[in-house]
Symmetry: C2
Subunit: 102 residues, 2 copies
């Protein structure tokens, strides 16, 4: 992960609706959730949820696949791990006080 990707990822995490969506998808497990279920779970209109889901997916933190009529969103733990690694190493220079929090 480079600076540009990290900046976009942090921007994705800096909005309340998007953070709530991400946390919900992380806890949904590998089967993911449909866009409609995400919208209902976070109390957002379909169009608003779609807007934010697209913004998160753009960063790679979540993925989407169409399954017949619905679109399934899933957390992408590989990218989430890469972002954590970026924060730890690139931002914090692997400072022991931060590493010890792991």
């Amino acid at each position: 992960m480079n600076d540009t990707q990290a900046l976009a990822s942090f921007a994705a995490l800096s909005n309340e609706t998007r953070l709530t969506i991400l946390k919900r998808l992380v806890r949904a497990g590998p089967s993911g959730m449909t866009a409609g279920d995400v919208a209902a779970a976070v109390g957002a209109s379909p169009s608003r949820a779609s807007f934010h889901l697209a913004a998160i997916a753009e960063t790679g933190l979540i993925t989407s696949t169409r399954q017949s009529r619905q679109i399934i969103y899933k957390a992408n733990f590989e990218t989430l791990g890469a972002l954590m690694r970026f924060f730890l190493t690139d931002c914090c220079a692997d400072h022991p006080d931060v590493v010890s929090c792991c």
Copy 2:
């Protein structure tokens, strides 16, 4: 660290100038840097650097102390660690694929 603090922290990290400043301060070590030196290091005007330094300091990710005429900014590794822990646990639910990146 709660959701509100994390949202503000991620917003602080989502701007190129601020991310550059934070990385620079992390590497400056415990003596920190003056506002002027930070501005010069990241190629920003004093007023622009001051604006972004204040935004980061607001989140607690960095601290400031006046030393005679100058203001010394330092990375706050305690808060940086708390943010990492928030991301790992609250966002990622301590998912093994993310934890393994530590």
